[in-house]
Symmetry: C2
Subunit: 365 residues, 2 copies
């Protein structure tokens, strides 16, 4: 009888970080697509757009004027989902079963926007590593100022890139939402990492890095690496070309990133290097500006000891599946039952590995 093959047969893989499964149906890529086609913008944009509310010198939606910035530019979101001061509502513990079904608590916080560059028409994939080091320094700055607020306990830095990913302005920028509460996703990871540490007396992501970079022939899921970081398509990836950028050394937050490092800026440079390399490979997959949501997972800043439940890493969630216009829909089955993917993470890694680290727009013909 036939042998089981990961490339041919349906299987589930386990995500130990969030204690959850994903269904993988590799043969399904053969299915023709007759559904929605995304719109790709191929026209080149100007370096300065007078109608963009993020370009230097322009007016924003609520009437504030941007400075004539020439590097990064940080400001408070004009339509913030969270406010630093607001009335509070405390969660009450109750033994009443009905009360346990209507549980709520207030959340204070802060929402900032960071423009990566004054240039309207550039993305990280096309930036120099030096410029991305400045972006990383702005992350550290916003992180430090957020955790200085006594009731802020978690700092979520994320970028929505591309209109498919809900980004409402192509000017290169990210957001930082800092909260009183520790959000669900990092909390789930912390619970799993704690269990793993208690069982194995080691950090799950330290072990995972070791496994992917040193224990396997051909490193089937490693896309690229440098001294401080590795980029892998995790074994349990959900999005078609999902990757994680994981620190090779154990540190838990942006605040700790450059502690105990001889050359203070070494890790900032290595982080910029790996981010530019993976985003450039993404753009080269379909020769288009590859959309994604990405973000940093790090330790809470709540005064607790997080040396064992947190390990600095980034997630990239890119939606494209087959072409610049055909994305993977995570809908009916995925929302109601279980995430489902069509190609294996090893297949995605092999495609990404074959892509050049010279951006297709910069290639000499």
């Amino acid at each position: 009888s036939q042998e089981f093959s990961f490339d041919e047969h349906s299987h589930r893989r386990f995500n130990p970080l969030i204690d959850s499964w994903v269904l993988c149906s590799p043969h399904r890529t053969k299915r023709p697509w007759q559904g929605q086609q995304e719109i790709v913008e191929y026209e080149s944009k100007p370096e300065y757009d007078p109608k963009c509310y993020l370009c230097p010198g322009n007016l924003r939606a609520q009437g504030k004027k941007n400075p004539n910035y020439s590097d990064t530019f940080i400001f408070i979101n004009d339509f913030a989902a969270l406010k630093v001061e607001q009335p509070q509502l405390h969660l009450e513990d109750s033994n009443d079963k009905f009360a346990s079904l209507l549980k709520a608590e207030s959340v204070r916080g802060e929402c900032k926007v960071i423009c990566f560059s004054p240039k309207h028409n550039i993305t990280i994939a096309e930036m120099s590593e030096e410029v991305v080091v400045h972006v990383i320094q702005s992350w550290i700055k916003v992180y430090q100022s957020a955790i200085a607020v006594p009731h802020i306990n978690y700092v979520q830095i994320f970028e929505n890139k591309g209109s498919i990913m809900g980004c409402s302005n192509p000017h290169p920028h990210c957001q930082v939402w800092s909260t009183e509460s520790i959000p669900e996703e990092p909390r789930k990871e912390m619970v799993s990492m704690t269990k793993y540490y208690e069982k194995n007396n080691s950090c799950m992501l330290c072990d995972y890095v070791q496994l992917e970079t040193t224990k396997l022939v051909d490193k089937p899921r490693v896309v690229c690496e440098n001294d401080s970081f590795v980029c892998v398509t995790p074994y349990w990836a959900v999005w078609p070309y999902e990757t994680m950028v994981i620190a090779k050394f154990h540190f838990t937050s942006l605040g700790e990133m450059d502690e105990k490092v001889e050359n203070g800026k070494k890790r900032q440079c290595d982080l910029a290097n790996i981010i530019v390399r993976i985003t450039c490979r993404y753009d080269n997959v379909f020769k288009c500006s590859f959309p994604y949501s990405m973000g940093i997972h790090q330790a809470p800043a709540d005064g607790g000891d997080h040396s064992h439940d947190s390990h600095f890493h980034l997630h990239f969630y890119p939606p494209l599946l087959r072409s610049p216009t055909v994305k993977k829909f995570l809908v009916g089955y995925e929302l109601l039952a279980e995430p489902q993917r069509d190609l294996t993470p090893e297949h995605a890694a092999s495609t990404l590995k074959q892509c050049s680290e010279i951006h297709y727009k910069h290639e000499k013909v």
Copy 2:
């Protein structure tokens, strides 16, 4: 000082069904939208489309010919994510920490498609309850035949409606993916319902129905109800107009739905009634064919006793937020940190309650 208000201030609500939180920022609806606009199709479609691979008598993608069906039509998905027979891979329990990071198991199963009607240009929202009773009977039929397969343990019925929700064909249809494994979402619900039962000696959803329909002045989240079902915007809803249709009596699966009921078809009719009413209200919110993913959660068919961990219900996940063309993006913050919503579930319920149960296309002017 100001008092906390659910309509004004940021807060998190707890979802007891899956043990998870959602961030609610009600003031954020004031934000202008400059991002992606969805495409709405207003042209009327023909009742029969010679190019549709689901219309009666037409050829499907892999060359099979549809019968000239006049009611519902059930067939095996031509590009099934799951197969009834395939080689197996068993999950091995190992104490090796590296092995615990690369866990996988094979999954056998079956993917079926159910066309709701021979008519290409109709949706449930515009169907008569009698026709929807036939759809429900086809669900029961597919459910019964799936659970008769010894290694099938869970039956997931779901509908992706609208191209925004990844639906590749507007012909009214749903899918049924039946699996060996119990998928993540129902499994999480079962874990929470078991804990609740152990603590309170009652079923969480029986209690939730009682709470929403009898304990609160004005029933702020009840959209509509009949003898057997209630439709609510759950306290912990994520999608803007998310609803749940919950059985008012405790039964766990389609197989049990008509047991112990005097009039054998009473619950089928009541289920058809509530589904037509809620989908019609959805279409009336923005006077468009409202996209959604919806599906049934029920007990596994694995031979176990699920009387306490399962309670028959449906989830509707509709993406539209402000208009037929502006949806809610669950992206960066939502994927990396925590689901976030802009309007309260009570606000959504009040809008849905104000909508007529006569479809806007059928309204007399």
